[in-house]
């Protein structure tokens, strides 16, 4: 009897994160990391405090923020331990758990902060 892998759970999260980051990732990085800070194509105040607070107060906005942060982390962390394997490092069950745990912790923190910010 071959033991069933638990990859389906983490691969689904990896796939969902890969899809979201492929669809909007480049634009998101460009907007928050380049265009707005430089005032290039977008004004400096596009990410101003009141606006971002309103986004975080809005239920749909909350969901979007949580989904982006969580799925990016699960996507990245899953691929990261495969990278270690590719570099010839033996990936133990503990290392896998640490990778997925890191993503889960990031998700929990994001959800907590979104609750603290309130509605």
């Amino acid at each position: 009897m071959i033991r069933r892998s638990n990859k389906p759970v983490f691969w689904s999260l990896f796939g969902a994160g890969g899809m979201v980051s492929a669809l909007i990732g480049p634009m998101l990085v460009f907007v928050t990391g380049i265009a707005v800070p430089l005032g290039f194509l977008l004004p400096h105040d596009a990410l101003r405090y009141e606006r971002m607070l309103a986004l975080a107060h809005n239920p749909a906005g909350k969901l979007a923020l949580a989904v982006v942060i969580s799925l990016f982390l699960f996507h990245g962390c899953h691929r990261f331990y495969h990278c270690l394997h590719d570099f010839g490092i033996h990936v133990t069950a503990g290392m896998k758990a640490a990778c997925h745990g890191f993503a889960a912790a990031g998700t929990a923190l994001a959800v907590y902060l979104l609750l603290v910010i309130g509605f």
Partner: protein, 135 residues
Amino acid sequence: MPAPNLLNRYTRPMEGWWRRNPFYLWYMLREASCVFIIAYALVLLCGLYRLSQGEAAFNGWLAALATPRSIAFHGITAMMVLYHAWTWFKVMPKTLPFIHIGGKRMPDAAIVTSGLAAAVVLSALLFVLVWSGRS
């Protein structure tokens, strides 16, 4: 003379395998994008934390984003995520069952193109959404 060992086998070691073929280098570049995606998620998480602390803290996060080091980091990240996106859609046909329309199998190029088109449309929407909120 020792008895010949006919079962002696040679197996090439895997050290540095990714340098054997440019195809592998591109693969490793794709996989390396994960580090940048994780880092970017942490930047956003940090922003969310600063947002929860109030206006002054959040403005500090915005100011940090405008430093040359941050711009350089986001420049590289944007390129890596873009490469991730390109490879993601390029291999998308391999991850899907065959799609038959009117008795014909949907060509791979059509699947890749629809993925890329969806990315362009959604990215444009996101840009307009951010742009529409200027004061």
